[in-house]
């Protein structure tokens, strides 16, 4: 498998042309303030700004054009390295680059190009608007890509299913020393628990009732522990099975501090059985049991804040995550795996549903991203010692319309309903900020111990 590399991402719409990135670059690379010598170039374009920088191409033409062997793509970092001791200043590399990424610098009398500052780009650090981003998800690909996928190929999820992505990522990271519980829902429904006498999972898996997932898992973990084996007990459950009918056993297991990693895959309803509403379905949403017609206009109650309920159980670890923010998801997954060795860990992962929410199947990650960018979904984590803190900034949220408009299940909303949703989101945010401000208390610390 080839390697993936870190990149610098540019969001033209967020750039305000302050040029701080260029200042940071020339200061770091040339101890100068002359923007002409910056290896990142912001250029005005109409009302906005565009970018010229080395793309660290996968199939770089500058390297093929170099007659002196002075340019080479570094297989480790992915950076196109320039070797001044071999360069003959012929400038043919600049002919090969269609991005203005390698240019002649008259003052140093040779070409200059971005070298990613050895993995900590100065330009990105200097960017206050978020237009520049250092994308490091390649780390996940390189590290996790070589681990075995613990589900078989060809699960029968819907096209563009986010839940399948979550299942494959999480189990790959957790590894094969595991017993998985998948209560009724999309996860067993797409074949992970078995069909025709075969399972779609390469590790032991069982299919509890909706009601007893956490209690069965607790027993399995205790039995393995008694026999001296360190086997992870993991639940991959939907939001219905978690928030509604399975909540009693979940609450009990969390209260007792059972050593379980419980992953709730939240697609905001009972999607497997025909898109019925659940306790996690948001206000206003269309489902088959909260229809839209002459009188009814979708769900009339707000969703439960399930992860916050789990915080109130004082679990060893609680976090919310989104597949649009994979680095964040992996960090939380690692902490949850660690916490489940000594106590109850709960991970709540939002999973937009192409079929049930009615949006094009190629838009899943974008929908997930918009949910976070509009604060519809808040990303945070909790442990009893440090309390709760947001892991994705909730300031400068984008207007909620940008999220609601892309989903068919909200197509009918009237202004009053949208106002209701805005109030709910504001309340959620205030509540989470309140918890974040409170930090860990002494009783919580005692609970952790």
């Amino acid at each position: 498998m080839g390697a993936a590399y870190e990149t610098i991402n540019f969001k033209a719409e967020a750039c305000d042309g302050c040029n701080d990135c260029m200042t940071a670059c020339v200061q770091a690379k040339a101890q100068s303030d002359d923007h002409l010598r910056s290896r990142i170039q912001i250029v005005p374009s109409g009302d906005g700004f565009e970018l010229a920088i080395c793309r660290q191409c996968g199939d770089p033409e500058c390297v093929l054009n170099c007659p002196a062997g002075a340019l080479a793509k570094n297989a480790g970092s992915g950076v196109i390295d320039w070797d001044g001791s071999k360069c003959v200043n012929c400038l043919l590399c600049t002919v090969g680059c269609a991005y203005g990424g390698i240019v002649y610098d008259a003052l140093s009398s040779h070409v200059i190009k971005c070298d990613m500052c050895d993995g900590a780009p100065a330009c990105v650090k200097a960017c206050a608007t978020g237009a520049l981003k250092h994308v490091t998800t390649a780390r996940i690909y390189n590290e996790v890509g070589n681990l075995e996928d613990l589900f078989v190929p060809g699960l029968s999820g819907c096209q563009g299913c986010n839940t399948e992505l979550i299942m494959r990522h999480t189990l790959r990271r957790i590894g094969p020393d595991v017993v998985v519980a998948t209560p009724p829902g999309c996860i067993p429904g797409m074949g992970s628990v078995g069909y025709n006498g075969l399972t779609g999972t390469k590790v032991p898996v069982f299919h509890p009732l909706l009601t007893n997932t956490a209690s069965m898992l607790a027993g399995v973990r205790r039995q393995y522990k008694r026999s001296g084996r360190d086997v992870m007990a993991v639940a991959l459950a939907g939001d219905g099975g978690t928030a509604d009918v399975g909540f009693q056993s979940l609450s009990g297991a969390a209260e007792r501090g059972e050593e379980i990693l419980y992953i709730c895959v939240d697609n905001e309803g009972y999607m497997n059985t025909g898109m019925q509403r659940s306790g996690c379905t948001p206000y206003g949403a269309w489902t088959s049991t909260t229809p839209v017609g002459e009188r009814a206009h979708g769900k009339t109650q707000d969703a439960k804040n399930l992860p916050l309920l789990m915080v109130m159980h004082n679990c060893g670890y609680v976090a919310t995550a989104s597949t649009a923010y994979m680095e964040d998801l992996y960090e939380k997954l690692d902490r949850a795996i660690q916490a489940a060795r000594t106590g109850f860990a709960y991970l709540h992962i939002y999973s937009p549903c192409t079929t049930g929410w009615r949006f094009p199947s190629d838009q899943n990650i974008e929908v997930a991203r918009k949910a976070v960018e509009t604060n519809f979904v808040l990303l945070w984590e909790f442990n009893p010692k440090d309390g709760l803190h947001l892991t994705h900034p909730a300031d400068n949220a984008r207007p909620i319309d940008e999220y609601l408009q892309v989903l068919g299940k909200y197509r009918h909303l009237d202004p009053d309903q949208i106002a209701h949703i805005e109030r709910t989101l504001a309340n959620n945010l205030n509540r989470i900020r309140g918890f974040a401000a409170a930090k860990g208390t002494s009783s919580a610390a005692a609970g952790h111990a």
Partner: protein
């Protein structure tokens, strides 16, 4: 007889680019690369720097053994092709052995053209096309005080500069009225000439050598106007031409070079040609041209390699655009596209910014609001972006005035919008 699926003759930019493209699509089938040299692959472009000592001849190689091992390439050195037997799908090497192929790429490049000047044939002189040529020149350097360079093209000018930096008194004799006539007009060339003169290089333009005569280890050149130049060393750099004589009788169609179509395929279905040996369509002309420049060799090689590997992403060759970069005595000149003289005059606009004092020159040629050529001496713009603007025939539209005023920033913004 040895047999290989892909046979590539040549080991410079076109050949290596084709090899790269083949291996991106076909990791398995056998590839054999032949070079007449006894070394790893290198570029002719680096040779003037080997002469001057700036480049260590042991570190100029474009690939190492490890690359060939990793990519399962059979790299054969000292393998000069004497004959192509297209009917039998085989080539014959100078030692008489044969290699069979399913698909053949000719990337054999060009060789120095020697002018027919009385006295030259029987004399000792240098050329600069192979690593052996460069090492011979470098070896001669400490013993010489005066050199004559015949030809003021890129190779001659590079060599003249590097000889001058080595402490040699250099005279360049160029038939045309100014140097680098293939790329720059008289005004831009004059700026380049000025820098050479300031660095002690004597440039004799519009001058023809009438005869050569040996003189000790060196020679005496007598010009048409009677001027006599004595030199310890003569370097002939009057241009290069594709080497096609070994194709005689092969059935492969040749003009000045090997004639190829938009996929670099010759008239024979399983034989391709790319780089300096190929004669392919021009971007501004419909005639097939020799566009012997490195970036075009890379392009042609890639297209040929993709076509040979039957890569479904193979694109048609857009046509050769003349372009080059040239750095000299710490200054630089860049030429992309064609001058106004090469275009039909309707719709042509030319804008020049010249500052003779600063040795700054910029000329932009537009045709119907689209870039046709841009030429600079010590002017900042991105040649790669300009080349793409030409190939994509991007209508500058409302950006035209901005482009003429500030081509670098405007082109970068256009790139960022159009390439996205």
């Amino acid at each position: 007889m040895q047999h290989t699926h892909y046979l590539i003759v040549g080991a410079s930019h076109a050949a290596l680019s084709a090899l790269h493209a083949i291996r991106l699509h076909d990791a398995e089938q056998e590839v054999t690369l032949l070079t007449r040299d006894d070394s790893l692959p290198y570029s002719p472009t680096v040779l003037p720097y080997v002469v001057s000592g700036r480049s260590d001849p042991g570190r100029v190689f474009l690939r190492d053994e490890n690359y060939f091992t990793q990519h399962k390439v059979n790299y054969l050195r000292g393998a000069k092709v004497r004959k192509v037997n297209a009917g039998q799908n085989a080539v014959e090497l100078a030692d008489g052995s044969e290699i069979g192929f399913d698909k053949l790429l000719l990337a054999t490049g060009a060789a120095p053209m020697l002018p027919s000047i009385p006295g030259l044939a029987g004399m000792k002189f240098h050329v600069l096309r192979t690593l052996a040529d460069a090492l011979a020149l470098r070896e001669a350097l400490p013993r010489i005080k005066r050199a004559v360079v015949l030809g003021g093209g890129l190779i001659g000018m590079h060599a003249a500069e590097n000889l001058a930096k080595g402490g040699v008194e250099v005279s360049v004799v160029e038939v045309q009225s100014h140097v680098l006539a293939g790329y720059f007009d008289a005004e831009a060339s004059a700026m380049i000439e000025k820098v050479f003169a300031a660095n002690g290089v004597r440039l004799l333009t519009g001058a023809r050598v009438a005869s050569f005569a040996p003189q000790g280890e060196g020679c005496r050149a007598t010009l048409a106007d009677g001027t006599e130049l004595d030199a310890d060393l003569l370097l002939v750099a009057t241009g290069v031409a594709p080497v096609t004589d070994f194709l005689a009788g092969s059935g492969i169609a040749t003009g000045r070079g090997v004639l190829v179509d938009e996929h670099m395929r010759t008239n024979i279905a399983n034989i391709w040609a790319a780089g300096d040996v190929a004669q392919a369509r021009g971007f501004f002309t419909h005639d097939r041209i020799i566009n012997g420049i490195l970036p075009d060799a890379v392009d042609q090689g890639r297209i040929a390699g993709m076509a040979m590997a039957e890569d479904p992403g193979t694109k048609n060759y857009a046509g050769g655009v003349p372009l080059n970069t040239y750095s000299f005595f710490g200054q630089h000149a860049v030429s992309v596209g064609v001058h106004e003289g090469a275009l039909e005059q309707a719709g042509v606009e030319v804008k020049k910014q010249v500052d003779a004092e600063q040795n700054h020159y910029l000329k932009i040629v537009l045709k119907d609001s689209r870039l046709a050529g841009i030429f600079g001496v010590n002017a900042a713009f991105d040649p790669g972006i300009m080349w793409e603007l030409i190939l994509r025939a991007i209508d500058l539209g409302d950006e035209k005035l901005a482009f003429l005023r500030s081509p670098q920033d405007t082109a970068r913004a256009l790139m960022s919008k159009n390439w996205r």
